[in-house]
């Protein structure tokens, strides 16, 4: 009788144990997802803001005078490809690398 009770207790503990372990992983997964979600969306929003800010610059250069080497694509001959003015994503403050273990909040 005691054994049966013990076994029943053990079954309950198993579920609790599994739940506890799974909760840890679930929470980790959730936190990681949130971090990825925030990183991705922040990057997208920042990129859109920078893109909008670049419109005047990009559209105000004659094709032959695109002279922003860091952000412009070049062809095989090293010449600027007209109209390919890209958003500068080198600013790590605005475009940080993804690191789910690092928190800035």
């Amino acid at each position: 009788m005691m054994i049966e009770k013990w076994i029943r207790l053990e079954n309950k503990g198993q579920a609790t144990l599994e739940l506890t372990v799974s909760l840890i992983f679930v929470m980790l997964f959730l936190v990681g997802s949130i971090k990825i979600f925030l990183w991705l969306n922040e990057s997208m929003v920042n990129r859109q803001v920078d893109y909008e800010a670049n419109r005047s610059y990009a559209a105000s250069r004659p094709f032959t005078q695109v002279d922003i080497p860091d952000v412009v694509q070049t062809d095989e001959a090293g010449l600027a490809i007209p109209g390919e003015v890209l958003v500068d994503e080198s600013d790590k403050a605005r475009y940080p690398d993804l690191n789910i273990f690092e928190s800035k909040w």
């Binding site: 969306n41 997208m44 929003v45 909008e52 005047s56 105000s60």
Partner: protein, 720 residues
């Protein structure tokens, strides 16, 4: 059965599960919901970002295209100005209208061609078309396999084809046929049809005036990047001109075709109005030229304007223009150029009726003020002075700059009468050229600005404004002549003096500070007795008194005192009335026709069902109803203007730049996208129910720099 029902309805049974498995699954499901929310939010942000990018690109591209068109035209017009060194204005006298019109008509009007490319293929459209091509290819391949298999089987069975073999061959043929048809339809599908329809629209664009074409091109440029309407309808108008009215064409192409058709019709209507206008101009030219240019028929047809003058040795001309000066007359010499001459056909040039009077007044020492910063009358200038001045390379006030600062001295003796005569001559030169130009009516946008400025009716750089000033001066002159003929010193007194039976009104010496009282308008008024013998109602109050007090004109001038009030003035008054009437009528016609031609209200009303001048294109698909609205700023087209200053005529280029500022910039494009989610998806709800309207505006800047051979400066100055 009873036990099962009890278990089902007993909470205790529910709370006491037989197994503890599945606890994690519950959490995972909850987690999945959260994850899905994240994914949805990310998708929305990304989608909104792409949407914003696409709209910004569309607005920027349209604004840049508009600015490029305007700057290109401005550059062409600037380059065509015949000035050395290059300037934005040129001042000259001779043949300037021919230069202006040559410049205008010489600039390519229709810059159309690769603007109207097909609608950029959307990913799902491309995927759909690719899928159909792939499916068609698979059907063909399967059909070939079936037929080949049947043939192999037939050979294997000694040449006999079983029922299954026949079915395989027939099926194979049907599959190949279906596959070919599917591929053909896919490859000649939506985009090709859209392209075909828009090619026709591009051809129609060539029939639009510049401003309409540039505006429509900008609108198209934006629409083209945003409209993804895949709906099609029967091509009843045969817009692609292939004779097939049964085929289906994209709704977007239909819409553009109809809209452009209305614009072309409106353009044709305007050309009709322009034709009427040119005829009215011709009528004005024929009549008004009689005041400065003697013509055989002027004496009879325009007798009041230019009656026959009896001048010894001048019988070859039946009429003498009323504004003809004896010092010079303009002719077209053998080289085809204007030239001032002092004799005509070897004979002296007689004064016209008005000039005879004004010359007599000047000889009598009567100074009469000025009109348009010029003395009303003076003797001269000589023919050689006029020729020298015409050749003089100089820039009058208002056009002086570092490259052209020479002063333009007015020839001695050049007066308002000369200005009036010259001004009418210049206007009539333009009219003559327009009448000779077969395409003048269609080219009205090029020359209408010379006639009228709806924003400023007193603009002296327009013929309407110029004639308005002439009209004011003529009316003043006419009023002065009224008092010359019958001097009446209001409030003063004058005597009637008769000499040898001829009586005239004479102002006597005026006692200053003496008043008399008259009963007027139900009350007593104190009126100065003559004062300084000035009638305030006369624009030139010194005329009557000086004429009479001084004893009249010098008889050597050809006009005696006797003639002034009785013989000379009434015919001159009739001539002036005729001129005033002609100019008034012509100005009325200018205002009416120019308003018809330049007003956008008529075309906006005609295009009402197509969104007016700022159209909205709407369509419905499985995702709901979408609308794209494109607004274009009321941009200014580069244009030449003429200014007559100090007898030098200058052409200058106007509106060749736009600063793109939010306050003053007029070269802008705004696109607005409105999405109404589809309803009726049942349990699935609505497609993307959170999407709402979004708009993007792009303001373009452009300018033309003649001192630098680099390309026009075109760009985006302000965006939002």
């Amino acid at each position: 059965m009873t036990g099962w029902l009890q278990r089902l309805t007993n909470l205790l049974k529910i709370n006491r599960p037989k197994s503890v498995k599945g606890q994690v699954m519950t959490l995972m499901i909850l987690l999945l919901v959260v994850m899905l929310i994240f994914v949805l939010a990310t998708f929305e942000i990304g989608d909104t970002s792409l949407r914003a990018t696409k709209m910004a690109n569309a607005a920027d591209a349209a604004a840049l295209e508009l600015a490029s068109n305007l700057a290109t035209r401005g550059r062409m017009m600037a380059d065509n100005l015949p000035c050395d060194p290059p300037r934005m204005h040129c001042c000259f006298k001779k043949a300037f209208w021919s230069i202006i019109l040559t410049l205008h008509f010489g600039v390519p009007g229709a810059i159309v061609g690769n603007y109207l490319d097909g609608n950029p293929q959307s990913w799902y459209e491309a995927a759909y078309m690719g899928f159909k091509i792939l499916l068609g290819a698979l059907m063909i391949a399967l059909g070939i396999i079936m037929i080949v298999g049947a043939i192999v089987a037939m050979i294997g069975s000694g040449g006999s084809c079983s029922y299954a073999c026949v079915k395989a061959i027939i099926g194979g043929i049907m599959l190949i046929t279906g596959g070919v048809l599917m591929m053909y339809k896919a490859m000649t599908g939506f985009n090709k049809k859209l392209q075909a329809g828009l090619n026709q629209v591009a051809r129609m664009f060539a029939n639009l005036d510049d401003k309409s074409r540039w505006r429509e091109t900008a609108i198209y440029s934006a629409m083209n990047r945003l409209v993804t309407d895949q709906n099609m309808a029967r091509d009843l108008d045969d817009m692609d001109a292939d004779g097939d009215t049964v085929e289906k064409m994209p709704d977007f192409a239909h819409w553009w075709y109809k809209r452009t058709e209305l614009l072309v019709q409106d353009n044709a209507n305007k050309a009709g109005a322009a034709t009427t206008f040119v005829k009215q101009m011709s009528d004005f030219q024929n009549r008004s030229s009689c005041v400065y240019e003697g013509r055989a028929w002027c004496g009879s047809n325009e007798r009041e304007l230019a009656p026959l003058e009896t001048v010894a040795g001048y019988a070859s001309r039946q009429s003498v223009p009323v504004l003809q000066k004896s010092e010079f007359s303009w002719i077209v010499n053998e080289a085809g150029e204007d030239e001032a001459v002092s004799t005509l056909n070897g004979l002296p040039i007689p004064d016209g009726r008005i000039i005879r009077l004004t010359r007599a007044m000047e000889n009598a020492g009567v100074s009469a003020g000025s009109y348009l910063s010029l003395p009303i009358y003076q003797n001269g200038p000589t023919a050689s002075a006029m020729n020298n001045y015409a050749e003089l390379e100089c820039c009058p006030p208002g056009f002086e700059d570092s490259t052209c600062s020479a002063t333009c001295p007015t020839p001695t003796g050049y007066d308002w009468m000369d200005e009036l005569s010259e001004g009418l001559r210049e206007i009539n030169m333009l009219i003559a050229m327009l009448n000779e130009e077969p395409s003048a009516a269609e080219q009205w946008p090029y020359w209408i600005g010379f006639f009228y400025n709806s924003a400023d009716l007193t603009d002296a750089d327009t013929i309407y404004g110029q004639l308005g000033m002439y009209l004011d001066a003529l009316r003043n002159f006419q009023t002065s002549l009224t008092y010359l003929a019958a001097p009446a010193c209001r409030g003063g007194w004058y005597a009637r003096v008769c000499t040898a039976g001829v009586c005239t009104n004479v102002c006597g010496d005026c006692p200053v500070g003496v008043y008399r009282y008259v009963w007027r308008g139900g009350r007593m008024e104190r009126i100065p007795v003559c004062g300084n013998c000035v009638d305030a109602r006369s624009p030139h109050p010194s005329w009557p008194c000086r004429l009479t007090i001084a004893g009249g004109f010098n008889t050597n001038s050809g006009i005696t005192l006797t003639e002034v009030p009785t013989d000379v003035v009434p015919p001159i008054q009739r001539s002036l009335s005729r001129m005033i009437s002609l100019i008034t009528t012509f100005r009325t016609n200018i205002a009416r026709q120019a308003s018809l031609l330049t007003s956008d209200s008529a075309i906006a009303a005609r295009l009402a069902s197509y969104g007016g001048l700022s159209p909205t294109y709407s369509w419905t698909d499985s995702r709901g109803r979408k609308s794209i609205r494109v607004e274009v700023g009321d941009f200014l087209s580069p244009r030449y203007r003429k200014r007559k200053t100090w007898r030098k005529t200058c052409i200058y280029l106007l509106d060749y730049a736009d600063d793109g500022s939010a306050s003053g910039g007029r070269c802008w494009v705004k696109v607005t996208q409105v999405e109404t989610p589809a309803n009726g998806l049942g349990i699935l709800g609505a497609w993307n129910p959170f999407r709402r309207s979004m708009d993007k505006t792009s303001r373009a800047t452009y300018s033309v720099n003649r001192s630098d051979d680099s390309a026009n400066i075109v760009g985006i100055n302000a965006v939002n």
